[in-house]
Amino acid sequence: MPEHSVVFRTPPDGVDVVHAALESLWLQETTVDEMDRMMFETALIELVSNVIQHGASPTTTLCELALTADDADLTAVLVDSAPQPHIDFSPREMPDEFAESGRGLAFIQALVDDFDYRRKDDRNIWAINKHRAVTTK
């Protein structure tokens, strides 16, 4: 089961680290449907961007990201050292078309099947899971 882990600090690192990690995963797990890849990547980047923007650490936020792919699912677990965020995880409707912000959480909820958060040992633990499309061969 292909798995990729990456540790990064933000600042100075940004989402490019995550894009690169996903690229490595797709090179190894070549059967992932293109739409699944796009949806999973978009959701994960929204999550990481949120952590980067709202991390509120006075210095830097340490992030550990683990990506896994098996026959059924694509999974990402992100552990970060930022203070506990104040986020409403209830289901979101997509904002009005002319909104200039506020789509991140709605995107994640729309793009993946499971999005979970918990706080443990002074760490934020985020998990997203996407069921892979069933392909007939």
Binding site: M38, E41, I45, Q53, E100, S101, R103, L111
Partner: protein, 109 residues
């Protein structure tokens, strides 16, 4: 990154490369505002070189659309790739932006 090209007396094309996200979104805003100040009537954002757009990038596109419309101009999107089309549809912005398959088509529309 974004480069601007003046096209004829009234139009301009902005070409993006790479990712349109929270890092690059301000540069897009600046490029569009500069063209509005230069009194361009039609601004085409050519996304053929953009392989990824996130919600920050979409927010910047929306802000640019509002700015151009307030100035009496038009903003059009050209050549979005698959991921870009996906997020445009997800956010219902495919109903808001005029979308063309190429920059030339967008300019001539």
């Amino acid at each position: 990154m974004f480069t601007s090209e003046i096209v004829g007396p009234h139009d301009a094309t902005i070409r993006g490369t790479g990712k349109l996200n929270m890092v690059s979104a301000p540069a897009l805003r600046e490029a569009v505002l500069a063209l509005i100040n230069d009194e361009r009537h039609n601004v085409v954002v050519d996304l053929s070189g953009v392989d990824f757009v996130d919600s920050s990038g979409l927010g910047a596109l929306v802000a640019c659309l509002k700015s151009t419309r307030q100035a009496g101009c038009d903003l059009r999107i050209a050549a979005p790739g698959k991921q870009v089309l996906m997020v445009l549809k997800l956010s219902n912005l495919d109903r808001v932006f005029p979308i063309f398959t190429s920059a030339e088509e967008a300019i001539n529309a």
